[in-house]
Structures are given as C-alpha cells and as structure tokens.
C-alpha cells in the first residue's frame, strides 16, 4: 500500500513565530547576563566597599570619642555591612565579608641609648570576598584606617600621631596608639548581613616617657603604608630626611614587613624624647556585651 504525503503549511507559522520569539528572548537574556550583569555587580560591590569605608570611619569616630571621654563602662556600638546581595531575577553571586578582632598584629619597638621597649597592638580587620570587584581589606590599626588590596595598601584615614614639638632645639614626639582587645570570645563575624561592633574604654593605658630615642621599629603587614605616612608626616612637620645632615631616615624592610625610623642629632640637640601613650579599647563583634 502506497501512502501519499501531501505538503501542507498549516500550523508552520505559529511554530516559527514561537521559535523566533524564544530565540529572541534567549539571545537578549544571554547578552544581558554575560555583558551587563558583571558590570552592574561590579558597581554594586564597589559601592559596598565605599559603604564599609564610611562605616570604618564611624568606628574610628566611636573609638576616638571613647578615648577622649575616658569613661569606664561606656559602650559605643557601630555597624559594619559584611556583604552585598545578588541581583534579583538574574544569575549573580552574592558578596560576603569577614570582620575580626586580631591581637598582636602591629608591633612597635622603641630603642634608646640603653634599652628597647616592645609593645604589641591589636587591630580590627574587615576582609571582603567579592565575586566581581577586587577584594579589599579595611583595617583599624593603631588609630589609622588602612585600605589594603592585592596591589598595595594606603592609610585612608590618618591617625592623630605623631605629634611633634620642638622646644628650643630639643625634639619631642607624642605617640598616642590605640590597642584593640577582643573580650568575651566574640572575635569574628562572617556573612553578608550587617553586624554590630561594640567598643568600650577599658580604663587601662600605658604611659611612658622614653628619652634619647635612637630608632623606632614598626612591624606591620601594611608597613608600606606606615612608611609613606611617617615620611610624609615627619617631613610636613619640619623635620629633614637624610642620613648625613638630616633629622631622620626611614628604611623599609620588605623581608620582615617592617620599617625602621632612625633619628640623628645633626640639627637637634641630642636625640628625641618620646611621650608614648597606649590606650586599650575593648571590642566585641555581634549584639550584646559579654564580660
């Protein structure tokens, strides 16, 4: 039995239109997904990084206020937004972050004619885990806010030290450092939401006057920021850099992540006197306060 096939175009138009429509949809969605979504997400994550910098400046303000008032049992809470959400309807990654209180991250050694004094300081560090924008860290270290990324770091908000005063031909330096100590075991927070960080004046501080200081050594992961900052500050406050006829010279040590500030008595009488003050601020991450 022979079957006869008869060409018929009934129904083809509808299917062709449907296929074309689906094709159009798929190509538009693919274009947006592959080209525009990464750009939008990068912008969104960059804005989140700006937000964290602002929140860190509020944290610094809170710590400076505690330091200025020096009142026991006064707690100030600020907040840090750890991450940012993904785009609705589109396929994108959520950005996460980590906030932690670290001890002994910043070390300072002051050497005078006869002895060395060592001090360790705790810090607060935020690290981002971005999906599109470069990862950045923001660190509260010694009273400064440092921005760190893969290609370098910088002190974004400068600390209040060193204060420099010349009395006659004698040089006096004031170093007011903030030491962050985590208490109650609440030392870190991760995720993408907003977490609180609570700070409290501890009532304890170290006060020392160290005379005839020959050198100061600073050990920090962000030593290059300190190198730039100390050079800029000392020069801008009237000291001359140089080993032969200068007042100071700063040497970075890339192997040990440190800088050494050497003082000379070419233009000043003797060597500088340092008035050191280290104020301890207690900190906890998360709501509530545990002693």
């Amino acid at each position: 039995m022979n079957r006869k096939f008869k060409a018929s175009e009934d129904g083809v138009v509808g299917i062709v239109v449907a296929v074309l429509l689906i094709g159009l949809m798929v190509s538009v969605v693919s274009l947006v997904q592959l080209v525009y979504v990464p750009d939008w997400m990068e912008q969104r994550e960059a804005e989140h990084m700006d937000e964290v910098v602002t929140q860190f400046s509020q944290l610094k303000f809170a710590i400076d206020t505690l330091n200025a008032n020096k009142q026991n049992y006064t707690t100030i809470a600020t907040s840090i937004t750890l991450g940012s959400k993904e785009l609705p309807y589109w396929m994108s990654l959520r950005a996460f972050g980590n906030l932690e209180i670290l001890s002994d991250e910043f070390k300072i050694t002051i050497n005078n004619v006869s002895s060395s004094s060592n001090f360790s300081i705790g810090t607060i560090k935020y690290s981002s885990s971005n999906g599109y924008f470069i990862d950045q860290d923001f660190i509260y270290e010694g009273g400064a806010i440092i921005t760190n990324q893969a290609d370098g770091n910088i002190i974004s908000i400068k600390p209040s030290f060193p204060g420099i005063k010349k009395v006659g031909n004698k040089l006096f330096l004031t170093l007011n450092l903030i030491n962050i100590s985590g208490v109650g075991g609440k030392l870190s927070g991760s995720g993408y939401g907003t977490t609180a960080i609570q700070t409290e004046y501890s009532g304890s501080q170290i006060e020392q006057i160290i005379e005839d200081v020959r050198s100061i050594e600073i050990i920090s992961k962000y030593f290059y920021s300190w190198y730039m900052f100390m050079n800029w500050t000392l020069e801008n406050q009237g000291l001359f850099p140089g080993t032969l006829s200068g007042d100071f010279y700063i040497t970075p040590d890339y192997d040990n992540s440190s800088i050494s500030i050497d003082f000379f008595s070419s233009n000043i009488e003797g060597y500088p006197t340092i008035n050191l003050s280290i104020i301890e601020i207690l900190a906890q991450i998360g709501p509530g306060w545990i002693d």
Binding site: G14, A46, D50, Q136, Q149
Partner: protein
Amino acid sequence: MKNKREKLALSEIMGVVLLLGMAVSLFVLVQLMIYSYPFEPAAPSVNIVGSISDGNILLEHHGGESLSLDTRIIITIDDVPEPEITVSGNLIESDGDESWEIGEIVSYDPSPVDITNRQVIATVVDVKTDSIVMRGILQGGRN
C-alpha cells in the same frame, strides 16, 4: 433558512492574539528589566583624593581599580586650563608596574604659575571609558 454558527476560524484568531500578546508582554518585560539599569560603559571604580602641598598638586589613589598611564588630568587655575597632562611622567611609582595603583601619587608642579590664593580644579578622565573618575576643587581661591 437555518443559520449555523461556525467556530472553525476562532482558534486561528485566538492563537494570533495570544502570540502577539505574549510577544508584546515579553518585549515590555525585557525593556523594563534592561532600561532600569544604566547602559553606558562603566567608569572604573576608584577613589582618588586631591590635595595641594608646597605648591604642588597631588592626586593620590586611595583604592579601587588601577588606572592606565594615559589617564588624562585637566587642571584649571582660576578657570584657565593648564596644558593637559597624563599620569605618565607625573606618577610617583612604588612598584614600577606602569599603572596608577593604590597608594601611588600623581604630582604636578604648576610653576611658573603661582597658585597662591587662586582656585584650583582637577579633573581625572579615564581614556578607556571616556569618563570622569574624579573632579574636585582642590583650593577654593578668593573669588
């Protein structure tokens, strides 16, 4: 005479109306989704802080994406533009990798023009995206 109601053509018309409706609503949806976001090429996300120190104009990279050496810098002093400069040749490099990165400073000496008590405006233009990444009054002047 008997009137007979034909329903044969109805499905054809309904099909076309539904397809058209679907097409229109899909296009509207896509348009709404796409046009609610900016489509211009995104300017690099970078924080640049400008200042004046000892008569020099300083522009410091405070984090974000690095900028190329052909990034243009337009300085105007009391609304008079200085000859346009690029980052190349004015950058104080820390690592020699030929890009303007975090912590690095562009320093421009405007002499012999004296900028004391005069308004100084700096504009940084990224060449790749042809967009302004920073514009600021570095010194207010007395006008």
